[in-house]
């Protein structure tokens, strides 16, 4: 027994030595690379990772990184509620000594102190998408979600001819930009379309299957609903599947948000009336671009950069202005 323990201890020590050696080498490598080639490093911490939207942001960020000659890392928690994991990611990224930090914070308060320290040390901060709020000294690159919700409402009202029953299927009641998509829509309808009634607002986490169930519940509770507005890709495609299962495609109009292959197919066939798309590729690109400019000491002259949004449907989805904003 003792011999085994001794052996194990020895093995661990050897491993630790090897690991230390390896680590030193890596550090050296990074340092020499940074010194000789002088490649600035931009850390990006995103709100999510696996969703197509974030992959599109990442793609745009990588394009900008290649163009401006910087290296980036792009990380995000698996679920868009994991505040603690996001804080860990930020802390780890800071250990690597970034020259700019770009972040889409789940909860700005959770990272405010850390980021203020970085800012004080001369590291520029750029918020993207959900951004870094107005209190931190940061430039935010985002699409205005409340305005986007309004645009959805205007188009929904046009589809309805100004009168009818509408239900809303949201994806989050906690993340501010998701809430803004619902509020922008609801406020616009209430303010300007007295004959349109919003009968129900449900949330289904943007989960495709739960969204399908939620849509079916809403339609069974009130079969007179004319149009359903969904606030992200999961909600919209889930609702679309739910309508197929109920056999009411074509009877109930669907207005969505974001983009994916399934969503685009639905819109092309006319079974989804239309959707709002943000421009995630441009968002990623503009974020890195802003970071590089700030690193070089340029003044951007603003602290909000609109990365844009647009309404698309079967008629305009191939327009040169719209097509690049759509992604799989």
């Amino acid at each position: 027994m003792k011999r085994i323990v001794a052996l194990l201890l020895a093995l661990m020590m050897v491993l630790a030595l090897v690991a230390c050696g390896a680590q030193e080498e890596v550090v050296e490598e990074v340092v020499t690379e940074a010194v000789t080639e002088d490649v600035p490093y931009v850390a990006m911490v995103s709100l999510g990772y696996s969703h197509q939207f974030w992959q599109a942001v990442k793609q745009g960020a990588e394009e900008a990184a290649a163009e401006y000659g910087v290296t980036i890392t792009f990380e995000g928690p698996e679920q868009e509620t994991m505040v603690d994991e996001q804080v860990d990611m930020l802390n780890t990224a800071i250990q690597n000594g970034p020259e700019a930090i770009c972040m889409a914070a789940i909860d700005v308060a959770s990272v405010a102190t850390i980021l203020e320290e970085q800012k004080a040390a001369g590291i520029p901060l750029v918020g993207f998408d959900a951004g870094l709020g107005e209190d931190l000294p940061a430039v935010n690159v985002a699409s205005n979600n409340a305005e986007a919700g309004k645009l959805a409402a205007v188009n929904a009202a046009e589809l309805l001819g100004g009168a009818g029953k509408v239900a809303v299927l949201g994806h989050t009641e906690t993340v501010p930009d998701g809430v803004a998509r619902v509020d922008g829509f609801v406020d616009e309808i209430k303010a300007n379309y007295p004959d349109i009634e919003i009968v129900d607002i449900q949330y289904a986490e943007g989960d495709h299957m739960k969204s399908a169930e939620a849509l079916k519940g809403m339609l069974l509770a009130d079969p007179e609903i004319d149009l359903v507005y969904c606030t992200n890709e999961g909600a919209c495609v889930g609702a679309y599947n739910g309508m197929k299962e109920l056999g009411v495609v074509g009877e109930v109009m669907l207005v969505g948000f974001d983009s994916s292959k399934a969503l685009k197919d639905g819109i092309r066939s006319g079974e989804i009336a239309g959707a709002i798309t943000q421009n995630p590729v441009a968002m990623g690109y503009m974020t890195v671009e802003a970071a590089v400019k700030l690193m070089n000491g340029e003044d951007l002259g603003t602290n909000f950069i609109d990365s844009g949004f647009a309404w698309y449907n079967a008629d305009n989805m191939d327009d040169p202005a719209i097509a690049p904003c759509l992604y799989d």
Binding site: Q55, E173, D265
Partner: protein
């Protein structure tokens, strides 16, 4: 059930599982009547089918996990194994394999994950919670890695979505997913009541050492049981991806908890050795009936979850109390 109660007063005492089934069946009927009073559409044909369809994925997962619970084990990896198996199936399909081969391969991937769970818990001595926790993490990660964080679409197969949402009986609204659930329930019942697998499962669950001493090859049977559970997760993956016409890599975490809740409400004791197949199906129906009813009444998602939590407490507390009374 009533006639039995009148003529043979001893039956509930002799068969506690029958008693439990009678109670939860009564609870299910009470839930239906209550919601029928609150919402007139609740017991419409369309809504009943909606409830049954919503039960399909969770019901199949619950049937799978019930096997492991009856051995005094647990499988918390079924949700992510479900996702992993349909991701694999989808990738094989998009790489050019015939759809039937891809479907079978997907179910086998599920069974293989189950096999690994069984092997880890029986041969390596890992507690089932830990073995399946690691499998949960592995499959969650691999789903994202293999799919490169993008959904895998089955759109190239025209009838794939019809697998779950069509009706091969030709009855509108009587979805195949419901039939798949029924068939699996019948197979489970047969395996459980008529084969050694069922008897050994309960024997291992009530007293593993006694089972071993009486000549049962406990390790081999545990591996078999976990593989069966994994295969069920594979079938659940088939049903889910067919409903969505795509395999969504980020779905899955959280689904295991609904399945475990269904099995527990259905009378499976987490300490093993008891449970019934019928109970599991009723348990799954109770969850989706409540969820659906609350949705029809336009109760928010957060409250739905809280209410189902309370139901779980009531079900288990009731079960415990009746057991205590029996002992006294």
């Amino acid at each position: 059930m009533n006639t039995l109660k009148d003529k043979k007063p001893g039956i509930f005492a002799r068969y506690p599982a029958v008693k439990h089934k009678a109670i939860i069946l009564a609870a299910l009927v009470a839930i239906w009547i209550a919601f029928r009073c609150l919402s007139p559409n609740y017991l419409s044909y369309t809504n009943i089918m909606t409830i049954l369809l919503a039960t399909s994925v969770n019901g199949i997962l619950a049937l799978g996990v019930a096997w492991t619970i009856m051995t005094a084990g647990i499988d918390i990896s079924i949700g992510t194994v479900m996702t992993f198996s349909c991701i694999c199936s989808g990738l094989l399909f998009t790489s050019g394999l015939p759809i039937v081969v891809a479907i079978i391969a997907g179910i086998l991937v599920g069974a293989l994950c189950g096999f690994c769970n069984g092997f880890m818990s029986a041969k390596l001595g890992l507690p089932p919670m830990i073995a399946t926790l690691s499998m949960q993490m592995i499959t969650k990660g691999l789903s994202l890695v293999f799919s490169e964080c993008k959904p895998v679409y089955f759109s190239d197969c025209a009838w794939y979505q019809k697998l779950a949402t069509g009706s091969f009986l030709g009855i509108k609204g009587f979805y195949n997913a419901i039939i798949i659930l029924l068939v699996l329930a019948i197979i489970s019942y047969f395996l459980f009541a008529k084969t050694v697998l069922g008897r050994y499962t309960l024997a291992i669950g009530s007293n593993r050492e006694a089972a071993r001493l009486s000549g049962i090859n406990v390790d081999r049977w545990l591996i078999t049981i976990y593989s069966v559970c994994g295969a069920y997760a594979g079938v659940a993956g088939l049903v889910m991806s067919s409903r969505l016409n795509s395999a969504q890599p980020a779905l899955g975490p959280g689904y295991e908890m609904d399945a475990i809740a269904a099995a527990v409400i259905g009378g499976n004791s987490l300490s093993g050795g008891e449970g019934t197949i019928g109970g599991v199906i009723i348990g799954a129906l109770i969850i989706s009936s409540i969820q659906n009813g609350l949705r029809l009444m336009q109760v928010t998602t957060e409250s739905q979850s809280a209410i189902i939590g309370v139901v779980l407490i009531i079900a288990v507390a009731f079960d415990q109390m009746s057991k205590k009374r029996k002992k006294n």
